[in-house]
Symmetry: C2
Subunit: 246 residues, 2 copies
Amino acid sequence: MDKYFINRRSVRNFTDRPVESSLLNEILTAAAKAPTCGNMQLYSVIVTRSPQRKAELAKQHFSQPATNAPVILTICADFNRFTRWCQLNNADAGFDNLESFISATADAIILAQQITTIAEQEGLGTCYLGTVTYNAPEIAGILNLPELVVPVACLALGWPDGPGIETERLPLEAFVHEETYRNDSDQEIISLFKSKEQYPANIQFVKENNKDNLAQVFAEIRYPRAMNEAFSQKLKDYLQSAGFLK
Amino acid sequence: MDKYFINRRSVRNFTDRPVESSLLNEILTAAAKAPTCGNMQLYSVIVTRSPQRKAELAKQHFSQPATNAPVILTICADFNRFTRWCQLNNADAGFDNLESFISATADAIILAQQITTIAEQEGLGTCYLGTVTYNAPEIAGILNLPELVVPVACLALGWPDGPGIETERLPLEAFVHEETYRNDSDQEIISLFKSKEQYPANIQFVKENNKDNLAQVFAEIRYPRAMNEAFSQKLKDYLQSAGFLK
C-alpha cells in the first residue's frame, strides 16, 4: 500500500511559490474521473487567486491561517448547469429539492477529496476550510454563485512551507462496525476515546482552554450548541433562497 | 502524475474471491488519515458480508448489479459516538442540527472517497450505490443505526470480474470557473454538453428510452421530478426522526 495515505497531513502554511495553472488544470482533469452520481458531475470549482478576493473570502473563513494559500478552491454542489441544460432541451428538471442537494453535495465532496489526494501526491499542500457552510451566503455573494449552486467544501492549496502537523486518530474499532451498528456501553465509549484524550497536544489543548476535559473543549469552546444552532438556521434559510429547500 | 487517477473506472461485477478482513482493515486504517472536521471523525462504517443481510440491503438499493459484491460498506454521518462521549464527560453536546449533519456528511464522504482510492490502488473494484439516501430509513433499520447516525454513502467492494466501463466527462471549462462563477449563455451551455450528447453510449441510451435527447432521459426517466420530490420528503422526515432536523 502506498505509504502516502497513512503518512499524509494537512498543511496550513505555504510558500509564495505560485501553483501553475497548467498543473492545477491537470489535477482537476484527473480528479473529475472520480465517481459522480449518474455521471452528472453535479459540482463546480471556483478558483480564487486574486489577492483582493482571497482577502474577502478569508474574512468569511474567520481569517484562519490556511487562507493565506496562493489558491483557494471553493467546491460547490451545482445543479444549475444541469438544470439549464435540461431546460434548453425541453426536459422538466426537478432538482430544486433536498435529495438533489444531498446528491450534489456528495459529488462535490468526492471531487474535493480526489483533488486533495492528487494535489498532495504532486507535492502540494492542502487544507479543508471547514467554515465554508457557516458563511455560505456571504461566500456565494463574493463568488457570484447563481441559484442551485451552494459551496460545500473549500480547499487551501499551495506549496508547503514545512511539514503539516501530525494529528491522532481514533482506533479502528471506534468507527468500524461488523454487520450491524454495535451498541457500545458507556465504558466502551470512554475507552475508545482514551488514547485521543491522552494525546499530548490534546492535554495541552484542555489546559489552555481551562476546561475539565477534551470533550468540554469541543462541545463548549470549539463547537458550542448556540453557534451550531445559529449556523443551522442560517444554512436552512440559505438553502431555501438557493432553491434547494421548500 | 499517477496514471491511476485518469484511468480509473467504477466496477460493478465482482468475482467470488473474498476481500480478506486484514486487507480491509489496512485500507480503513489508512483511509482514516483523510482530513476530518476538527479531527472529530464524524463517521462510521458498517461492513456487511452476511449473504442474508446483503440481500436485504440489495432490495433497498433496487437490486442494482453491484450489490452482488462480497462486501458492502455503508458509510454514515455519525454524531452519536461523539455526542455520547461529550455527555459522559459532562459537556453539552449541541450536534442535533442541520449544520452538524452537513459537517458529518462531509466527513463521511471524504472517508468514502479515500477508501475508494486506496482500495482501487490495491486492485479492488468499487462502486458507489447512489441510492443510499433514497431508502435511508430502511437501511438504518437493517443496520440497527441509532439516532444521529445517517447513511450517506454506500460502496460495493470486491475483486473485479473484468474491467469497468469507461464513462465520458464534461470538458474542464464546464465545471471550473476563474475567480467568480461564469454566467454562461444558453449557447455556451449547449456547447459544453455537446461531446457528452455525442458519446456513443449516450446516443444509444436516448434511443433505448424513446426520448428526443439525453437531457430528457436524465430528467424524465432516470431522475424524474416526482421521484426526487418524494425522496426529498422522505429524507426530510428521516433526518427529523434521526435527530438532525427540528
